[in-house]
């Protein structure tokens, strides 16, 4: 009914934190932007936090966009106020809130959990690749 609203709220929070983290990273990198002519970003020994957050952002916004269209397709979202057809009577509204609390929250947790696993795997693989590169150079 409106289960995508929960990941949408998470997406807004994640986007805000992405910009905050990105700003902080740029501030920290500014003085050491070039070390011996090599860009700091290229010289990094780990994946940037802002890059990882951008993955979650893409997953959340992508999912929210496509699910919102699905709800529109099924007539659960309407182009006039109150925009959600379930808001037209209290019984449907209660059902919608229940769905948001169960399905919506599960969606947000599941996507975030998968992202966490992907980040852990990516970090491990990145370190492994750097070690292999260093071994080859030696």
């Amino acid at each position: 009914m409106a289960c995508f609203a929960v990941p949408a709220v998470e997406a807004i929070v994640v986007t805000a934190s992405y910009f905050a983290v990105k700003k902080r990273e740029m501030k920290l990198e500014m003085p050491k932007n070039t070390v011996n002519g090599v860009l700091a970003a290229e010289n990094s020994s780990k994946i940037k936090l802002s890059t990882k957050i951008s993955w979650l952002m893409a997953m959340l916004w992508g999912g929210v966009l496509l699910l919102a269209f699905e709800h529109f397709w099924h007539g659960e979202i309407v182009p006039f106020p109150p925009f959600l057809s379930a808001m037209s009577n209290p019984e449907d509204t209660a059902e919608m809130l229940h769905e948001m609390a169960t399905v919506g929250v599960s969606m947000a947790i599941f996507v975030t959990a998968v992202w966490g696993v992907v980040c852990a795997a990516a970090s491990a693989l990145y370190k492994k690749t750097l070690l292999r590169k260093a071994e080859v150079q030696d």
């Binding site: 289960c3 995508f4 990941p7 993955w55 893409a58 997953m59 959340l60 916004w61 992508g62 999912g63 929210v64 966009l65 496509l66 699910l67 269209f69 699905e70 397709w73 169960t102 399905v103 599960s106 969606m107 599941f110 996507v111 998968v114």
Partner: protein
């Protein structure tokens, strides 16, 4: 069917991203993340519906399957359009030829 079609799109876009990862100028990774995000959300939707309907979930009318399939294809198209807009916004210089 919507979940299945989106999951196929996610897998295909991930394969394309992986095979072009050395020169990912079109940000195929973003496209695959869009599809994966939707697939994961629809998977949760499927789990809840399956828990409620059990095997009845798979006994759908042909009209419902067709409707879901058309929705699946449309959703994949919308994901691709969103990715194109993202690329246009990120790289507007590619829209115009420069001498």
């Amino acid at each position: 069917m919507t979940l299945l079609i989106t999951a196929i799109a996610a897998t295909v876009s991930t394969i394309l991203w992986f095979t072009h990862s050395q020169n990912d100028k079109y940000r195929l990774g973003t496209l695959s993340l869009i599809y994966w995000g939707a697939s994961l959300m629809w998977f949760i939707d499927f789990v809840f519906e399956y828990a409620e309907l059990k095997s009845e979930y798979f006994n759908q009318e042909f009209a419902d399957i067709l409707n879901d399939s058309i929705l699946g294809v449309t959703v994949v198209l919308i994901g691709a359009v969103a990715w194109l807009i993202y690329n246009f916004v990120k790289h507007p210089e590619k829209l115009f030829k420069t001498k």
